[in-house]
Each structure stands twice: as structure tokens, then as C-alpha cells.
Symmetry: C2
Amino acid sequence: MENSILTPRKQKLLAMIVEKYITTGEPVGSKTLCEALDMAVSSATIRNEMAELSEMGYLEQPHTSAGRIPSQKGYRYYVDNLMGVYELNEEERRGIASWLEPTSADPDKVLERAGGILAQLTNCAVVSTSPSDTQAVIRRAELVPIGTHTAMIVMLTSAGTLKSRVCRVDCELTLEVIESFYNIASKHFIGRSANDISTAMIQTLAAALGEKALLMTPLLVALSELAEASSRLDIRLDGQSNLLNYREFYENAFELMEFLHHSNSLAQLVTRGRGDTDIKIGTENLFRELENSSTIMSRYFIGGHDSGSLGIIGPTRMDYAKIVPSIKYLSQLVGSMLSDTLDS
Amino acid sequence: MENSILTPRKQKLLAMIVEKYITTGEPVGSKTLCEALDMAVSSATIRNEMAELSEMGYLEQPHTSAGRIPSQKGYRYYVDNLMGVYELNEEERRGIASWLEPTSADPDKVLERAGGILAQLTNCAVVSTSPSDTQAVIRRAELVPIGTHTAMIVMLTSAGTLKSRVCRVDCELTLEVIESFYNIASKHFIGRSANDISTAMIQTLAAALGEKALLMTPLLVALSELAEASSRLDIRLDGQSNLLNYREFYENAFELMEFLHHSNSLAQLVTRGRGDTDIKIGTENLFRELENSSTIMSRYFIGGHDSGSLGIIGPTRMDYAKIVPSIKYLSQLVGSMLSDTLDS
DNA sequence: GTTAGCACTCAAACAATAAGAGTGCTAACA
DNA sequence: TGTTAGCACTCTTATTGTTTGAGTGCTAAC
């Protein structure tokens, strides 16, 4: 981007400050830097440079007599221009793979396992979504009688999501009712995209049924609820408690945790990233609750199609250089495992 | 129980101390008690009584110059003998009911809603289990082809739990394969209790299949995994973040949260209580992670059958007198709602 | 452009003090 | 015998002042 603005030495300093701060969590001062530095340059010079970096907005100071810590802008510059693209070595790759592979082929199980691994690897909270497919259509809709007045409605989409709901009808579940359920389902639901099912449509449908409507309404409502549920993202959350280990979250732990359990917000978070792997730092996340957090979101692909997300939420002070390749590798692995089972 | 040991005045004092401490969170001293007390008795007398209560193990002192707080034994005595059985008034009952009722009949939705309400009402973490039935048998087992080599196996039990798993077979999913799946399923799975399906049984089954075994094995494995999953309790957790608001959990927040996400432990917790509503205080919970917590677990009944749990986890310093009736009422409400839909 | 040196700032650590809460004990009292 | 007043004692908490050390910014010399 605008890396021409920073001299090579400033770049090197900024990188060192970021990396040092990431590992120690303490503001880093000119002396520390000077020692850890091979360039034969005195702490005074470094101080000058740091003063300039501060003025430019890349660093900030908790208080006058403390060292510097990277500002949000500093992290951003580091991530965009300075961060070494660390490659996982063979051993690490194998480690991850051997953890993931013995899982059963089931997508949910794969993601559960992947979430666990990533949480452990990064010490952050992990968010992931089940494979989703905007092209998906409703493939089956079944009514399974549970009692004389109770039925379970099951809906299966072509994307492989299965949702069910138990519902109760006021009259007895006669064969006739069941039959007309199947008629309606196959006529108006099967083959349609789950997004197309609106409450308006349900209402017109019910109206058209005339007197039979009373019996069928709860079933239709269940169907539309299921359609709604099928079209909504299934979001997994793993390793949330990891975040409780970071000082920076002590104060607002409650708010942060509440936020994580609020799946609406998570859905926005997860769908927003464009690009293969998307890093958002601090307020770039737009959610007030995340202003001290960074998120790294990555997409996985099934048979070449963009199908889901895998990412983490952690403190801005995180080891981007190590975490990014882990996420990339893992989401690629997840993608290929799911492709094996789903793409055929 | 052994309430004969405590004089009426000691009982009254203990009750007051517990209640005061519950609301303020501060150790309570003799003077405070004396003021809040109608009995015409001086602080000195109260001090004598408190000293005795301490000696008997009902109270403890954080440090010499602090007031007293109830010990675990003190809480226990309070709960067993002193606690007023507070009755929810009509308004409160209606409030809870009106929050719960508009939910759809689906058990999972009902419990989700109930969990939310209880979490808000008690400011604790809420644990609940879906209706389970030890008598339940496998009712349907279906194979839905997803691709040429991939199938979704769906299992439905008579208790109304639906589980599914995607799995992959090495050969093409011909009609023949599907047919023999149904043969095996209806012969060895349908009508059986999920508990009866063991890996040993799967192995003998596979052995008996001879050369067809290779194709069928992944399907059989999936079936047994599903049986296992169906027989396991489905545990919901709500309002976990509430616990982050209590001072007493600040230090071990991470461990506590980890514990809550460890469903094995939760399952033990939830199944252990005998009796209608079961209160466990501190170390009575047997889990090290809960030694500063109390749990209140209640069962709900569907059509007269003990079917599931609803309970909370919170600090030992909780308002037992108010929480107990809330839980009781709510679980009774849940029971009757679920009976309406499921028992027929 | 770099460096040494120095005065300056500020947080963190420490010690000393004071204030206050609450206790236990004793001796007197009903 | 149970109750009470009084008092010395303990221990926490808050406050204040002091010291220490890290780190800075600036200046003048190289």
C-alpha cells in the first residue's frame, strides 16, 4: 500500500516492536530494541525513529515513561507489509493433518474437530460455519407421526442440511392429512430454494386451502420455519474460554462472551470477509465489542465452490504471522476433506 | 435434620446472616445484625452466639476483623431447615408463563426459551436436557443418497430425537447397496433400544456379511455412531457468561468455563440428582471446578414420566429461596408444555 | 545523520500511618 | 445463668509520601 512512506529502518523497527510486543505483552522501549538489534545504532537514534513513528500514528504510548506499543494502524501496516509469510514446516502440517484425518466424513464432525484444533493452536476463539450453498434447494420434506396429534417435520436440502421440528396439530393426524401434507410439500416446497419460502407465501397457501387450512396451518408454519432455519448459517463456536486468558479482556469478559453467543453478530462477522483470508484489526471489525480484538477469517472451498468460513477471534496482540498460515492450511484441509465426501 | 442442635435464636441468626450475605456479598458483623434485628438483644450477645456458630462450623471468618460469612455447612443448614419456601406470586408466574408460551411446540425450542428465561431470572448458567426416554427404541433408519458415493444416514427414535450423519462409501451407491442397507437396518436396528447397539454387534454383523462387508461397513459404523449419539443426553447450556459477573469466579473463570463446555462432566452433573429438586452446595458437587459453586437441578415430567433436567449453576452465594421456586415452576411448566405435544 | 548525556516524567513498589470495622474477653448486672 | 457494657486487640483498607527505575525528549557535540 503506502509503504513508501516508511524508510526501511522504520519498517524494521516497527516489525520488531510488533513482534516483541506480541510475545511479551509489555510495552517495548528503545533500550530493549537496541540490544535485540544487530544494526549498530544507539538507543537515542531509535528513540528518534520511534518518536516519528508515534507521530505518524503507528505507535502509541500507554504513558510517558512507558515503552511503545503498536497502534491499530501499526498492526495494520505490519500485517500488510512487514509480516513474514511464515510457512508451516512439514512436521507442523503433518501434526495438524494427523489430528484432523481420523474424523468421520461428516461435515459437522470435521468442523468440530477442526475448531478444536484451531482453538488449541491459536489460543483464540474459533468460529466456523457448516458448508452452505446458495444454490441449495429443498430436497425432501417429510412428516413423521409421533403421536395421534403430533408430528415431526423433517426437511433436507440438497446441501445436506437436515432440520427438524416437532409440531402439534389440533385434529387427528389421519392418513388424509398426511397425504395432503405431501401434496403441498411436493408441489410448493420440494425443488425450491429455502430462501424463496416466505411467510407471505405460506399465508396465500393457507388461504387457498380453504377449510382444510386449520388443520394444515401448524404444519405449514413448521415447514416455513424449517426453510428459514435451513437457509440460515449454522455457526459453530469453539474455544471461547481461551479468551479469558488474556489480560486485555478481563474488564469486558462478560460483554465479549455475550457477543460471542449472539449468533446474529457472528453471522455478520463470518460472512463479511472478502478475499481468501481476511484480517480485521480492532475497530475494523465494526462491532463495538470487538474493538480490542482482531479477527482472521478464511473461507474453505468444496469442489471449487466457496462454501464456508473458518476463523478466529482473539486479542489484537496476537501472533498473526503464525496464526494466518495455520488457518489457511486448516481451512484448505477442511475444504479438501469435505470435497472428498460431498463433491461427487 | 439435626436442627434440634441449634436454638431458635441461633437459627434466626444464621438465617439472617445467610440472607444478608446473599444480598450484599459482604461479611456481616454483629452490629449490622443487631440493628437489623427486632429482638431486643445487644451486639455482644450476638457476638457470643456468632462465636458459637463459628465453632460449630456454620460460619467462617475471612479474617479476624471481618464479619462472618456462612460456611458450606451453614448454607446447607439454611437450605434444609431455615429457608422460607417463597411462593411465586401470581404476577411472577404469569410473567414467566407469558414468556414461555408463545414458543413453538418443538421441545428444543421450548428448552431454548426456558433456558433463556431462567438465565435471566437467576443470573446463573442454565443447564438443561432434551426429553430422554430410556425405553426409546430406534424407529426409523434411512439412507438418503447425496452423491454417487455419499449418503446421509438418518436415525429417528421413538423419543423424537433425530440424528444424522453424512458418510462416504468406497463403491457406488447402487440400488442394491441401498436395499441391503434397509434390510440390515430393519432387521437389526429398528425396534431396538439405542443402548443395545454395540461395536461388538456391528463387528459380528459385518463379519456375517462376507464380501459385501466392505461396502457396508461405513454405513454400519455410521448407524452405530448414530445410535450412540441418540442414547446420549442432549445437553443445552445457556447464560454461561452470567457467571463472569461474580467476583468469586474472577480467578478461575477460565477453568469454570472450560468445565461447562465439557459435556461429559455436565452429563454427570445433570443425571445425578435424585429427588424432585436437588440442591448441591460447594464441594457436594464433587467436581473440583465447582467447589465454589452451587447447583440446583430439577427434573421435568412428561405425561408423568421423569424425562429431563432443568437446572442452574451459580455461586454458593445465591438466592436459594427465590431461585428454587422459579426453577420448580419453570420445569413444571416445561413439563406440561412438552406433555401437551409429546404425550398422546 | 548519529550519538552521548542529561533532565524530566511517570508508574510501580514500598513503607508508614491513620481510620475503622469487628472481634473476644472480662466484669458487672438482673 | 444469661445478658450486657466496655475495652483492648487484631487486621484490613485507604491514604500519603518516598524511592526506584524505566523510558522519554531534547540538546549539543561528533
